[in-house]
C-alpha cells in the first residue's frame, strides 16, 4: 500500500498494511520554512510556497498525508474578516476584536468567496500537490466549520454569549454560515483533495458536551452527507464526553487532543469512526525528545488508534526530529509486531 491508499483505507475503517500517519492540522515549522525557503506569512498567501511548505510533511517528515492549510483564517479572510498576517514565527489570525457581523441577517457569503486570493491560494496549492504527489500520499484539505467562523465574524465572547441567550439566533447564524463550509469544501475536492479536515472549535475547554449536541451534532451530520470525501472533524481540548455524539455524525474520523486517553476514547467511539491523534504538542512534541514522542505514539498504537499524528497545529518551533519520530515509531512498531 502507498500512503494515499493506507490513509483512505483507515478512514474507511478497512484493513491496512500498517497504521498510517496523518496530519489533519498544520505541521509547518520555522525549520521546515527555512529548509524549503517558504516562510510565513508568504506561505499562507502564495499557492506555490504554500504547496512547497506543505509537501515537507511527506518529503522531510515522512507522513502519509499533505495538508496545506496552516491556519484557520483563509476562508474567514474571504468572508471579509480583517486578518493579522504576522511574521515568520507566528500564525495569522482574524482580528476578532473587530467583528464584521452582529445579527444573523448580516451573514452573507460574498460572491467572490471562492475566487478571493486567500481561498484561491488554498485551491491552487491543492491542485499543485495533487499533480506532484497525488498518486503517493493523501492530499487533505481543510474547510472551517460554522462555529469557528462565527467566532471570527461575530467575536468569540459575543458569539458565546449569544449562544447562551438566544439559541434560535445562534442556529440561524450557524445555518447561514454552513454554505461557506460546504462550498469551500467542495471546491477543494474538485481541486484534488482526497479528504477534508473540518475544524469547529466548540472546544472542550470552552463549552460542554451537551452544547455540542445542542448546536452541532445535526449540523455536522449534514456536512457528512453533503461533502463526498472522508471528513476529519477537529475539536481540541478534553472531548471525551463529546465523542459519543461525534460518532453519530457520519464523519469518517475525529482528530482528538492529548487531554483524552487513547484507550478510553477508542472504547467510546467503538468503531463508529476512526480516531486520529493524539501526540501532545506543547509538552511532548515541542519541549521533549523523540523518546517521549515514541512513548505516546506507542500508547496510541496499542490502543488501536487507526491514524497517528499530532493533536493540533504544532508549535512553529517544534524540532523536526520530534516530528520524524512519529512515522519512525509507527514503522518500527509494525516491524516488531508484524503487519497484517
Amino acid at each position: 500500500m502507498n500512503g494515499r491508499e493506507r490513509v483512505l483505507a483507515a478512514l474507511a475503517g478497512e484493513p491496512v498494511d500498517r497504521t498510517p500517519t496523518c496530519t489533519p492540522t498544520s505541521v509547518a515549522t520555522v525549520e521546515l520554512m527555512d529548509l524549503v525557503d517558504a516562510p510565513f506569512p508568504a506561505a499562507n498567501r502564495d499557492a506555490e510556497l504554500m504547496a512547497r511548505l506543505a509537501a515537507t510533511s511527506y518529503t522531510e517528515l515522512g507522513f502519509d498525508t499533505i495538508m496545506p492549510v496552516f491556519s484557520i483564517i483563509q476562508d474567514s479572510s474571504a468572508l471579509g474578516c480583517e486578518i493579522q498576517w504576522e511574521g515568520k514565527d507566528n500564525w495569522p489570525t482574524a482580528k476578532m476584536t473587530r467583528p464584521i457581523w452582529a445579527e444573523p441577517e448580516d451573514v452573507t457569503i460574498p460572491s467572490d468567496f471562492l475566487t478571493h486570493p486567500d481561498t484561491k491560494c488554498v485551491l491552487d496549492a491543492i491542485s499543485i500537490l495533487k499533480r506532484e504527489y497525488g498518486d503517493e500520499v493523501a492530499i487533505v484539505g481543510k474547510t472551517m466549520g460554522p462555529w469557528t467562523q462565527a467566532y471570527h465574524c461575530f467575536g468569540v465572547e459575543k458569539f458565546l454569549l449569544l449562544s447562551y441567550d438566544d439559541p434560535d439566533k445562534t442556529r440561524q447564524i450557524l445555518d447561514r454560515l454552513k454554505t461557506a463550509t460546504v462550498d469551500f469544501g467542495r471546491a477543494q475536492i474538485e481541486a484534488g483533495a482526497d479528504a477534508l479536515t473540518l475544524p469547529d472549535h466548540a472546544t472542550g475547554d470552552l463549552v460542554s458536551a451537551k452544547y455540542y449536541d445542542k448546536y452541532l451534532t445535526d449540523l455536522h451530520r449534514e456536512f457528512a452527507n453533503e461533502l463526498e470525501v472522508p471528513l476529519i472533524l477537529h475539536i481540541c481540548g478534553k472531548t471525551t464526553e463529546f465523542m459519543d455524539y461525534i460518532s453519530q455524525t457520519g464523519f469518517a474520523a475525529f482528530h482528538y487532543d492529548s487531554k483524552n486517553n487513547p484507550k478510553e476514547s477508542m472504547e467510546i467511539v467503538h468503531g463508529r469512526l476512526a480516531l486520529v491523534g493524539n501526540i501532545n504538542n506543547p509538552t511532548t512534541l515541542y519541549s521533549q525528545g523523540p523518546e517521549e514522542v515514541a512513548a505516546e505514539v506507542t500508547a496510541n498504537l496499542e490502543a488501536g488508534v487507526p491514524l497517528i499524528g499530532p493533536e493540533c497545529a504544532i508549535p512553529l518551533q517544534t524540532p523536526i526530529d520530534n516530528l520524524r519520530a512519529i512515522p519512525e515509531t509507527v514503522k518500527a512498531w509494525h516491524r516488531e509486531h508484524g503487519s497484517n
Binding site: 493579522q84 504576522e86 507566528n90 465572547e157 454569549l161 449562544s163 470552552l206
Partner: protein
C-alpha cells in the same frame, strides 16, 4: 461554624450542596453566606444564575434601601462570583455561562462604581493585565480580569497583542505595582520573558510584581523567565495578586 440552614436563599443552599465539592470550600461558602443578609444572598443567587436584569434591579434596590455600596459589592456580587469561579474550575459550567455571570456582575457594578469613586474608597490594588505580543487569545485573561475586579482590584486591561513597550507604558501611566501577562501559544510565551527584560531595562523591576498564566505556561517556565508568580486559573490569579501585593508592601515597609 455556620450551618447550611443558616442560609435563607434556597438557590444558594442548592448551589453549595450540589456544586461545591471540596469539603473545605463547602465550609467556607456556608460560613460566607450564613454571615450575609438574605437580600445580599438574593443578589448573589441572581448573579450565579446569570440574570443580569435581576442583578441590576436588586443592586439598585439595595443601594436605594441605604445599604453601603461596599456591602452590596462584597456580600452580594463578589460572594456570588466565588461560587461561579469554583463551578468553572470544576467543569460544572463553561465559558458561555461564566460570560453571562460576568455580564450580571457588570450590571451590578455600574451602580456601585460611581459611589465608590465618589467616596474615595481605594481599590485593593492596581493590576495591569494583557495578552502578550502576537497572541490574540483573551478568554482566559478576561476571566482573570473579571475575577480580579470581582475581588476589588482596579484592573487596567491592555487587551491582546500587547508589546513590551505597551506593557511598560501601561504600568507607568497607571502607577500600577502589579502586572499580569497571559499567553496561550508556545510561540508567544517567550514574549513574557522579553517583557520582563524590557521592564528591567526600564529600571522598573523593583517596583513591579509580575504574574503570568495561560494554558501552556508552567511554574517552571515562570521561574525560568524570572516572573514572581504563576497562576493556573482565575481563582489562583486573585490569590496570587493578593499575595504578590502584600509581599511588595511588606518589602516597602521593611525597606522604609
Amino acid at each position: 461554624m455556620a450551618d447550611l440552614k443558616d442560609i435563607a436563599n434556597e438557590t444558594i443552599r442548592d448551589e453549595i450542596t450540589e456544586f461545591v465539592e471540596r469539603e473545605d470550600e463547602q465550609e467556607k461558602m456556608i460560613d460566607l453566606f450564613a454571615a450575609v443578609t438574605p437580600q445580599m444572598q438574593n443578589i448573589a443567587a441572581a448573579l450565579i444564575e446569570g440574570e443580569n436584569d435581576e442583578v441590576d434591579e436588586l443592586t439598585k434596590a439595595a443601594l436605594g434601601d441605604g445599604i453601603e455600596a461596599t456591602e452590596v459589592m462584597d456580600d452580594g456580587l463578589i460572594a456570588g462570583m466565588a461560587i461561579v469561579g469554583i463551578k468553572f474550575r470544576d467543569n460544572i459550567i463553561f465559558v458561555p455561562e461564566v460570560l453571562a455571570c460576568a455580564r450580571a456582575m457588570k450590571a451590578g457594578m455600574t451602580h456601585i462604581e460611581p459611589i465608590l469613586s465618589e467616596s474615595g474608597i481605594e481599590a485593593v490594588g492596581k493590576v495591569v493585565m494583557g495578552t502578550v505580543k502576537g497572541d490574540l487569545h483573551d478568554i482566559g485573561k478576561n476571566l482573570c480580569t473579571m475575577m480580579l475586579r470581582g475581588a476589588g482590584f482596579e484592573v487596567i486591561d491592555l487587551g491582546v497583542d500587547t508589546s513590551p513597550d505597551d506593557f511598560i507604558d501601561g504600568l507607568e501611566e497607571n502607577d500600577a505595582p502589579l502586572l499580569g501577562m497571559s499567553a496561550l501559544l508556545t510561540t508567544t510565551m517567550p514574549n513574557m520573558g522579553r517583557t520582563i527584560e524590557a521592564i528591567i531595562d526600564a529600571g522598573m523591576r523593583d517596583d513591579v510584581q509580575v504574574m503570568v498564566g495561560g494554558a501552556p505556561v508552567t511554574q517552571e517556565f515562570a521561574d525560568d523567565m524570572g516572573a514572581d508568580g504563576y497562576g493556573k486559573d482565575a481563582i489562583d490569579c486573585v490569590e496570587l495578586a493578593k499575595q504578590l501585593l502584600s509581599e511588595l508592601r511588606g518589602e516597602e515597609a521593611a525597606g522604609a
